[in-house]
């Protein structure tokens, strides 16, 4: 997915680490965040980099760069504002718990998930710190669900979904506890179609591209 330098190749005294010169404003932001989350700069930056890689991967999957993806997410939030329901919240929590379980399984099999595999990194403590942000991110839930559903449907065809439902031995439209689920119509769309919904959020400026054309001069 992303080209990485093997950890063994990185000397602890590598001069490259000294080349990362941040401006004062960025340093101030980092320090404020470190203080808020009771962590140090190195751990904070490690998490930021991994989050960037994750979101960058998701953005590429839907055919966008990360900044365009961010802009479209904001627009999706604006569109979905007011449409949130308790049900959505429950589903989001379920997804979160599923992710935790997956993380544990991955941890057993692969020695840690892709996102949180830094050596000696205190992931548990850090997740607790970021947990406080969950309330502020509640508006992201609906948009996230939309995206997840779309991507899941692209990966798993509707036919597969029906087969799985049948294997579970319950009729369509009922959850595992046998209760009727909320009637939500989700049209299956491909990744290409999903990308088609997004127009370029950061198109190049004509001012930078304008050039003298081939004029027929008299």
């Amino acid at each position: 997915m992303t080209k990485k330098t093997p950890l063994s190749d990185l000397n602890k005294n590598d001069a490259r680490r000294n080349e990362i010169c941040l401006d004062a404003e960025t340093m101030a932001i980092i320090d404020a965040q470190c203080e808020e989350h009771k962590t140090n700069r190195a751990k904070f930056i490690a998490v930021v980099v991994r989050l960037f890689l994750d979101f960058s991967y998701i953005a590429r999957t839907v055919g966008k760069d990360i900044f365009s993806f961010r802009d479209e997410m904001i627009k999706a939030i604006v569109r979905s504002k007011g449409n949130m329901s308790e049900k959505n919240g429950d589903i989001f929590d379920a997804i979160s718990s599923t992710s935790k379980e997956n993380g544990k399984e991955d941890g057993k099999e692969n020695g840690g998930s892709k996102s949180f595999s830094a050596e000696g990194f205190d992931i548990k403590g850090f997740k607790e710190k970021f947990g406080a942000m969950a309330g502020e991110l509640s508006e992201l839930r609906t948009a996230f669900l939309e995206l997840k559903n779309a991507v899941s449907l692209a990966v798993k065809s509707p036919a597969d979904a029906r087969i799985q439902d049948a294997d579970d031995g319950r009729p369509q439209g009922y959850d595992r506890s046998g209760l009727k689920t909320k009637d939500t119509k989700i049209d299956g769309i491909s990744i290409d179609e999903l990308a088609g919904e997004f127009k370029d959020s950061l198109p190049p400026s004509y001012k930078d591209k304008r050039k003298k054309l081939h004029k027929l001069k008299f």
């Binding site: 049209d187 919904e197 198109p203 004509y206």
Partner: protein, 410 residues
């Protein structure tokens, strides 16, 4: 170094459409029928003047241009109603006769200049023209047409001048005009619409845009990817609103027992007024609304099939279309259907479809004139580039003059 010789060049946009030719300068647009005809003899013309009871004495309605290649007056646009034989500038989107097309350019520039004078501005002196040509014309024809224009200009020192001798047949007034030609920039017809959207709607940002221009005799498709027309996918198809109205005319003819032929022009005139009934002598009133709906759906289906095929090619190249634009005289009949089909193709919500499938209404410009506005902007941009300045993207159309009858009184 800026080329200061461009500082006094007036940008002009123009196109010779299948049915109407349009020219734009700043906030002015003039439009006249793309037709030229031989003038009457002097004695017949004098008689016509005496018997003409129309109070519409505007130049654009009664225009004749002197054709020095034939040494005779040629009637242009509405005035060609008095000609024995008429020639349309284009047929199926292709220029028919360079001499006739040249008359069209002279007529357009003269009328624009006349409009300026009537609004207390000086006449046109020095121009740079952004000019739309039919897609099918291609590079060779464009170059040949340019060389023809060049051969008709008068050389004075290192400069080229266009001499125009025009006559208002209704009043008998004759005027002469001398305009210096600086450059002409040829582009595919629908590219003008793209320029208009780029400057006003897109805020000078480069969005990949698929332009469909539904005209009278042809419809044009032109994908613009990263600011450049995709030549392989652009095409003009000899099918347009004429196809719709002539089919309706034919159906009326057959339903009347092949007794009465209603000219398609009669049907065409009714459409902008929202009238869908025509009286057929002996058969009563014929309501063609349902037939119109069906014919427009058929035309839209042909367009959408071509668009979908192009989208596959564009996606294979790793590109996507940000906006779909429909312009041209037929857009008012086809646009809603087109938007619905694009929406269904992508499974878009109404909100996304409204945002991504747009028409010239978004710019506050009539569907028919948006190309000529865009070519004016293209010429303006090139002049600014020569002067090493930023281009002014603003435009506001304040006056539109056509050769349709005005102030009709008997």
């Amino acid at each position: 170094m800026p080329d200061l010789s461009y500082s006094d060049v007036t940008p002009i946009g123009g196109e010779l459409g299948t049915s109407m030719s349009k020219f734009c300068e700043d906030g002015r647009i003039i439009a006249f029928s793309s037709v030229v005809g031989d003038g009457l003899s002097d004695s017949l013309e004098a008689n016509w003047q005496k018997m003409n009871r129309s109070t519409d004495h505007r130049w654009i309605r009664n225009l004749a241009i002197y054709d020095d290649s034939k040494n005779m007056w040629r009637y242009v646009g509405a005035m060609s109603r008095n000609s024995n034989q008429i020639n349309w500038f284009t047929h199926k989107g292709v220029i028919q006769n360079y001499a006739d097309a040249f008359i069209g350019i002279q007529a357009g520039l003269f009328c624009l200049s006349q409009e300026r004078e009537e609004n207390d501005s000086p006449p046109l002196k020095k121009v740079g023209i952004g000019f739309g040509i039919p897609v099918k014309a291609g590079e060779v024809v464009a170059e040949t047409f340019f060389n023809y224009i060049k051969s008709r200009l008068k050389t004075e020192g290192s400069e080229k001048y266009l001499y125009i001798k025009a006559k208002n047949v209704a009043t008998g007034e004759i005027k002469e005009l001398k305009i210096q030609f600086t450059f002409i920039l040829l582009q595919f017809q629908a590219y003008g619409a793209y320029m208009s959207f780029l400057m006003k709607k897109f805020g000078m940002r480069l969005y990949n845009t698929y332009v469909v221009d539904v005209g009278h005799g042809t419809w044009i498709k032109l994908p613009v990817i990263e600011n450049e027309a995709d030549i392989n996918l652009s095409d003009s198809v000899p099918e347009g609103i004429f196809t719709v109205t002539s089919n309706i005319s034919q159906i009326i003819f057959e339903s009347s027992g092949q007794r009465y032929k209603i000219p398609e022009q009669r049907i065409m005139e009714k459409l902008p007024r929202g009238e869908y009934k025509v009286e057929v002598p002996g058969s009563g009133v014929f309501d063609f609304k349902d037939i119109l709906e069906k014919e427009c759906s058929n035309l839209c289906e042909h367009i959408i099939q071509a668009v979908k095929a192009d989208l596959v090619s564009i996606n294979r190249k790793g590109k996507t279309i940000d906006y779909f634009v429909m312009v041209g005289g037929g857009a008012s009949l086809i646009f809603d259907k087109f938007k619905e089909k694009i929406k269904n193709h992508y499974n878009w919500s109404d909100e996304i479809a409204n945002d991504r499938v747009i028409s010239a209404v978004e710019l506050g410009v009539d569907h028919r004139y948006v190309n000529s506005v865009g070519f004016m902007l293209l010429a303006r941009d090139q002049i600014a580039l020569e002067l090493e300045k930023e281009v002014n993207p603003d435009f506001e159309i304040t006056t539109i003059s056509t050769d349709s009858l005005e102030n009709f009184r008997i």
